[in-house]
């Protein structure tokens, strides 16, 4: 347990992140190849939606990741506000751009699916509107983070905004149950058998694992840059620069 706390320090976390990035990049590539192979080549057309349903193999993982990343950010926000750990604020900053990207991709790929299926690129449905709100929360956090000169104040203000925004997560998740929405209900749940063919579920899960591994690789890579910048006056960063080991993902 104490070794886990050791990695809460940027000095210890920086080289660990560097070692993990290539592994998660490789995993992301492997899962994506498997998921795309099953989803685009092996899986047959859907009896109702034809070929259009294949968009769901990227739409659903994007939507899941956009919510999951925000959930993780909320955890780091609690750590930032209570324990005031330096790394937690940097992790929030590193997660936010990828979370925003996945939220935007969930909306955009949803539009590509909605046009041939619903006949419209966009509808003010509870699920789509609450996901749009999630994208605005990410963008708001990024804007707020850059609005302060004092980084400690920026960290606390950003953490507070993230915590307030968590109210939106159950709204997104339960929106298809609470309201009569055009967006379909969940096809996969922890308590019931999936309402999709096994090959489709497998492809979707592989693509979700790829998105998960990709996110970890990108976020660890980004947080390394943020650690270096925040700790630029520290002796260990100066030594790293002197040894020429600060660039790229290897440490």
């Amino acid at each position: 347990m104490s070794s886990l706390f050791r990695y809460a320090s940027p000095v210890a976390f920086y080289p660990l992140a560097g070692r993990l990035v290539p592994w998660f990049s490789g995993l992301a590539l492997l899962f994506a190849i498997g998921g795309l192979y099953l989803g685009l080549i092996v899986a047959p057309p859907d009896w109702q939606q034809g070929e259009t349903y294949r968009i769901l193999f990227i739409h659903v993982p994007s939507a899941w990741m956009s919510m999951f990343i925000y959930f993780v950010m909320a955890g780091y926000a609690v750590l930032t506000l209570t324990l005031q750990t330096r790394l937690s604020a940097l992790m929030m900053q590193a997660l936010a751009p990828t979370g925003a990207l996945f939220a935007a991709l969930a909306l955009a790929t949803g539009a590509f699916w909605g046009k041939p299926t619903w006949g419209a690129w966009w509808v003010w449905d509870a699920r789509t509107t609450s996901t749009l709100l999630l994208l605005f929360l990410y963008l708001g956090y990024l804007a707020l983070q850059n609005a302060f000169e004092d980084v400690r104040r920026a960290d606390r203000a950003g953490a507070l905004l993230v915590l307030v925004g968590t109210i939106n997560l159950p709204v997104i998740y339960f929106s298809v149950r609470w309201w009569n929405t055009l967006h379909q209900g969940a096809s996969i749940s922890l308590t019931a058998a999936p309402s999709m063919a096994r090959i489709m579920v497998t492809s979707m899960l592989l693509m979700s694992l790829a998105a998960w591994a990709y996110t970890i690789a990108v976020v660890l890579s980004r947080v390394r840059g943020k650690i270096l910048w925040r700790e630029r006056s520290s002796q260990w960063v100066l030594e790293l620069l002197r040894d020429g080991r600060s660039d790229g993902v290897d440490s």
Partner: protein, 66 residues
């Protein structure tokens, strides 16, 4: 499934996949560029500090926060 069958997926499917791939590619390339930028800035600051130390015997650059 062969390539001609995959072409039948239509513009919506391929449009969505192309957008997805381009977005992730931009993020990865952007991240790489940002890393190089940070590294160049840090190296420049380090070189400046070394120069100051040689000339004045202090490695603290004006305005630098320790």
């Amino acid at each position: 499934m062969n390539l001609s069958e995959m072409a039948q997926f239509g513009p919506y499917v391929w449009g969505a996949y192309a957008l997805f791939a381009v977005a992730l590619l931009i993020e990865v390339v952007g991240l790489r560029v940002a890393q190089r930028h940070i590294d160049a800035q840090l190296r420049q600051a380090r070189a400046m500090a070394d120069l100051m130390q040689r000339e004045h015997g202090s490695n603290r650059v004006k305005g630098e926060v320790s």
